[in-house]
Amino acid sequence: MQTLLQLIAILAVILGTVFSVLGVLGFIRLPDVYTRLHATGKVSIFGVVLLLLATVMLTPLGFGKGLVLIALLVIGGPATSHAIGSAAHRIGIPMKRAIRDDLGALEQNQAGE
Amino acid sequence: MDIVIAVLSGFLLAVIAPWVHRVGRRSAGWLLALLPAGLTFYFAAYLRELRPDFVVITSYPWVPGLGVSLSFYLDGLSLLFALLISGIGTLVVIYAGGYLAGKPQLGRFYALVLMFMASMLGLVLAGNAITLFVFWELTSLTSYLLIGLDHEREKARAAALQALLVTGGGGLALLAGLVLMGQVTGSLELAALLSNGAAIREHALYLPILLLILLGAFTKSAQVPFHFWLPNAMEAPTPVSAYLHSATMVKAGVYLLARLSPVLGDTEAWHYLVTGAGMATMLLAALLALGQTDLKRILAYSTVSTLGALTLLLGLDTTLSAKAAMLFLLVHALYKGALFLVAGAVDHEAGTRDIRRLGGLARAMPITAAAAGLAALSMAGLPPMLGFINKELLYEAKLQAPRAAGLITATGVAANMLLVAVAGLVGIRPFWSRSNAPDARPHVPGTSEVPGTSEAVHKEPHEAPLAMWLGPAALAGLGLINGLFPDALPSALVSAAASAVRGKPTVVELALWHGISPIFALSVLTVIVGAAIYVGRDPLYRAAQRFVPWLITGLRVVGHWGPEGGYDLALRGLNSLATTQTRLLQSGYLRFYLIIVMLTTVGLGGYTLLSRTGLTWPAGRSSDVRLYEILIGLLILAATLLALLSTSRLTVVAALGVVGYGVALIFTLFGAPDLAMTQFAIETLTVFLFVLVLYRLPRFAYYSSRRDRIRDAVVALAAGALMTALVLVVTSAPLQSRLTPYFVANAVPLARGRNIDNVILVDFRGLDTLGEITVLAVAGIGVYALLKLRLDEKNK
């Protein structure tokens, strides 16, 4: 049992680290703030959640706290992404290679009226 | 009655004097004069006990911690002064009641003049060097306030300030000299100083002490080159001039020289310095006196000349010169006091003090004229006045001077000739000259226009009231009576005083008639030439202009650009130095202030660090570092750099956040979770605050030039390097905390907490935390008030 937990934890640490780094890579590579939000809001958070999972498994006393943290990240992360994304859109940060922008169109209409 | 009461009573009366003035109205002067009169009698009572070795010492502790006692030392010298001070004080208080009648300043005048009198008594009676200095400064101060009595006039204010600064500055030198003397002898008591003269004269500090004391004495007694303040002090009301600036205060320097001559005198330095200064003052002031047109200024310069003569005599430091000086003191006080009061009466009655406009007043003011005439006779040294006896004694003393007797005598005779002419100018001309047609002589520069003279108002003159003629009459009368009976009072008084000056019993026998001698011949010559100068002053002046123009020019220069010019220059220099310094230092540029603070820190701290500790590389600790720790450190530095360079405010705020998070991470890594937690929270809130505030502030602009930025960077880097060096040096040795083991051991058993950090915060060092939350509370109140309270806008 202990070994199994250890194994899972090692896996979680590795995966978590990898996803975290990947998320950051995406954050670097992706073209505009909206797509970058996908990278950070999902991948990095996922990576960190995995790391937390490892913690939950390895530190018995940290069990509850790890879960609380995961919950926090999962609730807070999207709200954050949303807040930044909508703010960016409202102050007019352009989307790269966008094929459609309903919200932008709406705002233009309102401005036009 | 104790002397201390005699001295201090004046202060007490001064406090209630304005009230007495208000209640007593016209009779206030007479009422208030009761005290000085009583004091005169009190001191006169000591005359019965006068013997050459007469000394009364009383002492009360005052500030024993500094060796200061309220002790008084009454001997012949101080008694002579005390009598003059209280006696003339009586007359002046009465006189002022008439002179200043109806003026709003009169109440204040009473208070100040009584305070002055008490201070002056304290000065001459003080038996402790510091006590003497206390009274010395009080006389300067009261003089300041009295010169500025008519304070709405700018010239009065300027003259008052000038007198204060010159005498005050000298006073400070005096203080240093007195303290040094005290240190040499181990006591500040006058008696101790007087008995330790030899020790002081042989001490390495003798010359500095002498110079400091002389500086005090010379400024107070208006010796060249510090004489200029005294004529300017004539801005004061005439009773003040008569009392302070002729009879008493200006003699304080002379008193000091006389008092200390047993201690400091009879050395080469003393002879040269004191005699030299006295001689120069005597002659120069006599010359300048003759050039004046304002009655009071003429008197003032002649006073300066007399002060020079007195100083000269004390510089000679012989028994004869001491006698002469003491007698001269008395004589001068009597005739000059009288003449000043007369001048006041004339000004008061005729509306001007310009001698070119005064004449023929004898018929309208007979008593005043008589007093003036007697005083002038005494001043000119004519028998049967006391001044005659005095002049004989003066010449005798000068002829017997230990050094350069010829030169000294010649100068003395010349000065006296000039003063005879001056006596005619002030005592004779206003009363008995035929007309008051304008004088042909032009005004001598440096003496400006006649102050206090309302040119338009020419009243019809008549005799002054009793209060105003009593003083001159009494003083002039005393000059006559004492001249007639010199062996009564004057002999005893001068003997006692001269004994004090010489430090050994000295007997003086004065007589009106000494028989025909070379000295008598000199006297006669003096009077004749003096009279000739008086009569022929205008042709003489024109002749001087033609044949010795340099003399006139010289006087002009002395008047304009002499010491007084130096005073003005010093004052202007001080102001411009102050302005320049302040503009340079207090420039208003915050970064300049910061640079100076940093340079001070780096300079002093760096110097000390380098000179007191060897900067060694802390071996062994540098290797113990992990990769990710370095990365975090670099992250902090990179974020710092970003904060430095970015022009976007919110980017800077974000960068700051990264710095804070990085620091918090270091806290985390090195066992400080509480700290990290707080740091994370605070950092985020700070970012929040910055965002809240900064989004309303303008974009970052680069205001500074490239050169400024480089300069600032160098300074900042130097400061950073100092801190780095400090850390390296401190951490190079291990730390043995004296406190932590105790905290660790007692956290659970005594403080009942397992988080030692928190236990320290709320228990072991709870007081820190109490202070800390107080700071927070204040910050909260402050921010709220700053944001909500806007007086500026309300006012608009």
């Binding site: - | 500025g148 002093l604 309270l789």
Partner: protein
């Protein structure tokens, strides 16, 4: 005797809390403030009397023994300073009742004043170097707010400099305290005094002492670190200026004297000579700064700087008499300088300006006020027999004793220039006729409340001058305690 030591902290804090909670009831705030200030003075007087009779007093906060917990310690020097703080607190509290505008009262003036006093008292009482930092901050932050309270333009400009430079000082102080712990492993000052003698690198201790010198030097406004003071002290309401002028820099001086008698006496030839040089420069630059000014409070502000030079001159000379002179000087200066600021408030109220050019005619109109001005002004200039004379005399005697003629010459010269400045104010504000201008609606409301503390302080100045011995004896005793720290160390570390 623990209670009597903590009262100077509890009383102002409790007063501040109650005035905060009193919130909208302005009358309650005012009464509480005055009562609290009076209580603080009473507590301080009781403490002084107690220390005088029973010797140095110690309180172990939290009942933790020294050096582990925070120790409060009151020797004579501390007790004297506390009494002065209480006295100034009461004077300014009463003055504020008459002069403070209701808007500032509503926005926390009274709590701030009392917390300021608490910080000052804490600094005087604490026996712990880090705790000293905390009290400095309490004092500073409340002074920051008081400087800016009202938000007038000059206030804000002055406050920025005041805040920035004082924060520099705090940062340096903090770094120095951290370093001290890093070197000696302890924070209790008595313990530090013992440990610092055993440090392996004595040169490092000297270096740290320089950091303290600069940090406290900024707070006490010595040359060349004083810039914040003339930039800001004249900007807030007069009551605030007055308490600042009286107390704040003196806390810096107190700290300098404390650490350079207790902690940093390893290299006196270097450190104290440096202090002496700085003292001279401070006197001169300060007084010259004053000469260049033309407003009442600006002149006074620069004179604070100059006078600080005298206070640390005694420290630099480092003899019992010199230190006694410093203590005496501080006591004299606090009373006199606060009073002069209070008077400037009266002239401003009645004359409508602080600029000498726009003032005048006060002697003719208010001769009593003239006398009340002359007493502190002449005392400041060292005119005998007022308090300042004895203070200067003590220092001068001490300087001549040690053969430091240069500093004595500077001290004497500067006192003449001080006199020059004071007569400048006297001449312009009191003697000069009032300038022709539109008659200002000079409000006489509350004037009596403003005059009362002025008169009391003037009387005190006069009394100290005429009867200097008690204070001098007290100062001498305090100086002896300072120069023989063994008793202090023994008392603090000795028992519980």
């Amino acid at each position: 005797m623990n209670l009597i030591l903590v009262l100077p902290l509890i009383v102002p804090l409790a007063t501040a809390i109650l005035t905060v909670l009193a919130g909208r009831w302005r009358w309650a705030q005012r009464w509480l403030s005055a009562l609290g200030a009076a209580a603080l003075l009473a507590a301080a007087l009781a403490l002084l009397e107690f220390v005088r009779r029973e010797g140095i007093q110690v309180a172990y906060i939290g009942n933790w023994p020294a050096p582990y917990g925070i120790t409060l310690a009151a020797d004579l020097f501390s007790a004297i300073m506390l009494v002065l703080a209480g006295l100034m607190g009461l004077a300014v509290a009463v003055y504020s009742l008459a002069s403070m505008d209701p808007a500032r009262e509503r926005f926390g003036y009274y709590p701030l004043l009392h917390i300021l006093l608490m910080g000052v008292c804490g600094a005087f009482l604490t026996g712990d170097i880090f705790n000293l930092y905390v009290w400095f901050e309490v004092m500073l932050v409340s002074s920051f707010v008081l400087v800016a309270l009202g938000g007038e333009r000059a206030q804000l400009e002055g406050a920025i400099k005041y805040v920035t430079l004082n924060l520099m000082s705090s940062a340096l102080f903090l770094a120095a305290v951290g370093s001290l712990y890093g070197v000696a492993g302890t924070l209790n000052m008595a313990d530090l005094a013992v440990q610092l003698h055993q440090v392996a690198q004595p040169g490092l201790v000297t270096t740290l002492s320089i950091l303290f010198l600069v940090a406290f030097g900024i707070k006490s406004a010595i040359f060349p670190l004083f810039f914040w003071l003339p930039a800001s002290y004249h900007t807030p309401p007069v009551a605030v200026s007055a308490i600042f002028a009286g107390l704040l820099t003196k806390v810096g001086v107190y700290a300098l004297i404390r650490v350079f008698t207790l902690l940093f006496v390893q290299d006196v030839a270097f450190t104290h000579t440096l202090i002496l040089i700085l003292a001279g420069l401070t006197m001169v630059t300060g007084v010259l700064g004053a000469v260049a000014q033309n407003s009442f409070r600006r002149i006074l502000s620069f004179h604070i700087v100059s006078q600080i030079g005298y206070m640390i001159m005694g420290l630099g000379l480092f003899t019992p008499l010199a230190l006694a002179g410093s203590v005496f000087y501080i006591a004299h200066h606090i009373i006199v300088k606060t009073n002069l600021f209070l008077i400037s408030g009266v002239t401003q109220r009645l004359g409508g300006s602080d600029y000498l050019k726009k003032l005048g005619g006060f002697y003719a109109a208010y001769p009593g006020l003239g006398v009340l001005f002359l007493i502190p002004a002449l005392s400041l200039a060292g005119i005998p027999p007022l308090s300042g004379f004895w203070a200067k005399l003590t220092l001068i005697v001490a300087g001549l004793d040690t053969g430091q003629y240069a500093i004595v010459a500077v001290a004497l010269g500067v006192s003449l220039l001080t006199l020059f400045s004071m007569t400048k104010i006297w001449g312009e504000v009191f003697w000069k006729p009032a300038p022709a201008r539109a008659a200002l609606p000079a409000s006489q409301v509350g004037l009596a409340g403003m005059i009362l503390p002025i008169a009391v302080l003037a009387l005190l100045t006069l009394s100290i001058g005429l009867l200097a011995e008690p204070l001098l004896a007290l100062s001498t005793a305090a100086a002896e305690q300072l120069l023989n720290p063994a008793a202090y160390i023994q008392t603090v570390l000795g028992g519980r």
